[in-house]
Amino acid sequence: MVFLASFAAAQGGAEDRRSGYQDMGAALQKMQDDDTANPAMLFVQAGEALWKQKAGASDKACADCHAAGSMKGVAARYPAFTPGSDRPVDLDGRINLCRTTQQKAPAFGPESQELLQLSAYLALQSRGLPIAPPDDARLTPVRAEGEQLFKGRQGQLNLSCADCHDDNAGKSLGGATIPQAHPTGYPIYRLEWQTLGSLKRRLRNCMIGMRAEPFAYDAPEYVALEAYLMQRAKGMTMDAPAVRP
């Protein structure tokens, strides 16, 4: 009995992680599940068109170099190091690397429609797959920095991310259920934004709420936070492109 009870507790512990999807009401879950109702799917369609469109001085489309199906699972493992670089990039950064070095075109701006469309198109190809951060020792210090950022207090309200997302998840913050902050669904169509947005934009929103100065869009701190969050959510199922309140 004792063994059974503690075994159940351990199992329960393993399943204590909940995605933002599980915290949403049934109506929003339905909207996300139905591809004809999920507004993010419009971005996916536009992303597919972009994927096939030749661009830049090399006059090549993404599809010219990448076979159909080759992007399966890719969104589930970034941030990651790219060959020849000493800094990890997130998926948006990886797309822009191909944009500048392969297509020889100007990088897409942060939160630009094109970047969101392409990332939504890629993210869909990881839907249903487990989050699988790379087994790469170079990411260990990056994740540690992300963890420190997550657990340190900041802003005029003197809160840490962990105060809400580890210690008070599931409770009501002035009417909003605090999720556990698992990045399973990005980019997301957020009803409050009335558009698609990246994980970075979501993190910036939380920082602004804490009255902390958000990092610049290209700051390595976001990649560190994202790397930590992905590790924390390892094995959870990708539900991108998701809908969130």
């Binding site: 900041q154 802003g155 409770k171």
Partner: protein
């Protein structure tokens, strides 16, 4: 900027010294035990105004975490105790210290320090070197909390 989280203590001391100058705006107060017995402004606050501050999502932010007997505010939080009855659980001076710097009562509290400027990191532009509430607002909220007898 990211270094701020891991600054060695000696350097943090220097940062404090800098913000201490801006702190001249904070009125001095005396802590006696677990309370600040005297009004920060020398005057007593206005409970009606205090109620509005507590209800406000941009001023007090209290209802993010707390619930309170403010029925017209539908969305209230449950990270912290209901404020109903706070005036019978705590003295005026205890409530004042709780608002000014709750970490004096519980070092791990998540309740924001409403009238403190030091030991903060990466405060957003526009909020730097300002307490969350002014001394007058603190007194208004204290007056409202004292009135919550049940």
């Amino acid at each position: 900027m990211r270094l701020r989280f891991i600054l060695p203590l000696a350097v943090v001391g220097a940062v404090w010294a800098v913000s201490a100058m801006a702190q001249e705006e904070l009125r001095p107060y005396v802590i006696v035990g677990d309370s600040i017995p005297d009004s920060l402004t020398g005057l007593s606050g206005d409970a009606e105004r205090g109620r509005a501050i507590v209800a406000s999502r941009t001023a007090g932010l209290c209802l993010l975490c707390h619930s309170a007997p403010i029925p017209e505010e539908r969305f209230q939080g449950n990270l912290a105790p209901n404020l109903a009855g706070a005036g019978s659980r705590w003295s005026e001076g205890q409530l004042r210290l709780r608002l000014v710097d709750a970490s004096r009562l519980n070092p791990n509290t998540i309740m924001p320090p409403y009238y403190r400027l030091d030991r903060l990191h990466r405060v957003a532009r526009g909020f730097e070197d300002k307490p969350i509430l002014s001394a007058g607002q603190i007194e208004d909220v204290v007056a409202y909390l004292v009135s919550l007898k049940e």
